[in-house]
Symmetry: none
Subunit: 211 residues, 4 copies
Amino acid sequence: MGDTETKQRPGDGRRAQAKAANREAILEAARAVFARMGMESATVRDIIRETDLAAGTFYNYFKSKEEVVKALAELSTSRFRPRLAKVRAAAPDVKSYIRAAFHAYFSFLKDENETALRLGASQMKLAAVRYDTPEMDAVLTEVRCALDSFFDEADSPHFDTEYITAAAVGIALEFGDLMLRRHPVDVDGATRVASELFLSGISGVDCCFQD
Amino acid sequence: MGDTETKQRPGDGRRAQAKAANREAILEAARAVFARMGMESATVRDIIRETDLAAGTFYNYFKSKEEVVKALAELSTSRFRPRLAKVRAAAPDVKSYIRAAFHAYFSFLKDENETALRLGASQMKLAAVRYDTPEMDAVLTEVRCALDSFFDEADSPHFDTEYITAAAVGIALEFGDLMLRRHPVDVDGATRVASELFLSGISGVDCCFQD
Amino acid sequence: MGDTETKQRPGDGRRAQAKAANREAILEAARAVFARMGMESATVRDIIRETDLAAGTFYNYFKSKEEVVKALAELSTSRFRPRLAKVRAAAPDVKSYIRAAFHAYFSFLKDENETALRLGASQMKLAAVRYDTPEMDAVLTEVRCALDSFFDEADSPHFDTEYITAAAVGIALEFGDLMLRRHPVDVDGATRVASELFLSGISGVDCCFQD
Amino acid sequence: MGDTETKQRPGDGRRAQAKAANREAILEAARAVFARMGMESATVRDIIRETDLAAGTFYNYFKSKEEVVKALAELSTSRFRPRLAKVRAAAPDVKSYIRAAFHAYFSFLKDENETALRLGASQMKLAAVRYDTPEMDAVLTEVRCALDSFFDEADSPHFDTEYITAAAVGIALEFGDLMLRRHPVDVDGATRVASELFLSGISGVDCCFQD
DNA sequence: CATGAATGAGCATTCATTCAT
DNA sequence: GATGAATGAATGCTCATTCAT
């Protein structure tokens, strides 16, 4: 509205890319808006308002807010999945894997948060850090799947792998929250405590994890 | 429209107090509506529609939906806090307390869920179990506080009590979710696994918990 | 908008009736708008704009434009049906009935047209006189039914009553159109020609009508 | 997007004329769309979507949907007028002409209807058969004119030729409707009944038609 | 206090039309 | 010419909120 510098309006030169760039602009705007006011209550108008585009333009790129959500989630998944795969391939044993997975998640979370802040999400608005964001959701799902399949594969009939995964996820979520609220944001610290706690926890539930 | 005789919560008897009872009626309706369609998407209209009251009357008692949310949360807090206090007073040691707290939370969760289902929340709608209910939120906060103060009081400088609480909360949340998705809902099972996992976990972080 | 005299806004006195009167106002406005620009292309906003009411108020009275259409049609039906019934009861024979029915229809049409003109339908806009009006449609249906059942009852297996009815309706429609375009509007003339033509027509098709 | 080779009505061969052929393509598409969803509710977008052309191209050929309508009507007129002229030239007397005119109209109607059905107009959608098509309108107008001038020329001061034409048109319209609703569609039957009815009718109005 | 009609801003979405390329 | 992305006005409709009674 005021900032005419970033406008992609016709007439400014490189056109071919501008078209594809608008999609990016909308996604970026959506990211900011979701971070600021939550996915649920954000409206399509909130998103395009963040943009130099006109109301109708949104619908040239997405059919609805839900599609933006999906696109954002897929983006995150596609960025995070390889990292997680690498982590797994590199892990010599359970403990290492758990540690690396926690670390990957907390790192991602930190990055996301920094982006969100830069994009205008006032720290105040996030009572608890914003998790109802498509990116977070996607990554969390990713982690959950990885753990799930890891435990399943480990074929540990001694304990309920679903509950164990749930525990890991719960710890990750809450630790992530806490980690972001503290300054400076300490990824390694969170990783260490989470790993220690979780690994000790499951070794208490099933002794075969005491290696 | 013209007949004022039948208004005013027909069928409740005492007239004098009936007026104050409207507040109760609105809260009750809000509970049902939140359970059925989620706090976020419920509208003031949805709430008053559940009521014998007129649209405008809502605003005699609450300034907005958010105030109803707050009131509902406070109600839950005030009902749940004593239970938790009793649990604490009765607990001979850490382990017992943790177990009792998990149990209290999972029990409450089960009750809430059953109420929600009875009130019309289709099992389907709860992708993840309905947590966006002011009551749940309040109780969770309550538990968090209890744990927090418990650990602080225990004065365990050996570990970061905030993180430990976060772990307990995370486990509680995710286990609760999982518990409700399984049938029959097994409060004791969830309590046992959660306690074992969590207690073993913290004993790994700080040996002074191995008593 | 400019005319504050006719406003039904709160604060002008008689209130109880005003509420019911708004429904009338909307129907009246819809009548005018439909007449002026056709039922199909008229929008809800066009209707309320004709009114002193606010956009949302429309939906206190009707769920959509279609409901207004239905209401308008029902109004017409309920006003016209008795007239037609009386006509039929009074008719000693076919010829009289046909004449009276044509007359009733053309009279109604004239009334409607005059109302429409008074309500702002510029004569210009109606290329062919506006028939896509719920009232006209309803009345025409009424007439069609009356004729249909009349012929059926007369049990004239000698000719195809459906076609005969269609002829009567077609003549009525086109004559109505023509009648309204001429000045002064001559109901009796149209009735005479239509009746003569139609009655001679059917007597040519089936001799049993030559009485 | 980038591939301009495949554009321009792929598969039609000659390139030079292809450009002018776009007009044709649009008209054809409009025909189909109008038949399928009615003239009123069809949008320019619906039309170009049926085409290999881009949105903007539409405006190189027509200023708006209304112009397409007009063009389509003119096309019909120009195709139908000669047929009607021939009919007239060949008719030895009034009766023959009337019959031939009815027949021409009903035939055209049947063709149009079959085209419409083939083009996707669900039988259901046509509450009353699809008349809101520019072609139908044009042809009807054509017939009306022919009859009008015929009667005028016959110089029959004994009756009101405008009304007589109106009667013929009304009968044609309603019979057409009815004819299409019955199966199999019986053009000759409709023609016979309509002619009989109409001719007897006018002979009752003015005896000079009894020849 | 209770009422419920009225309000008007707001939302998702569609569409005719323009225009830089 | 042809293109198709951008535009922004318009539409149907919902909702929180007000206020005369």
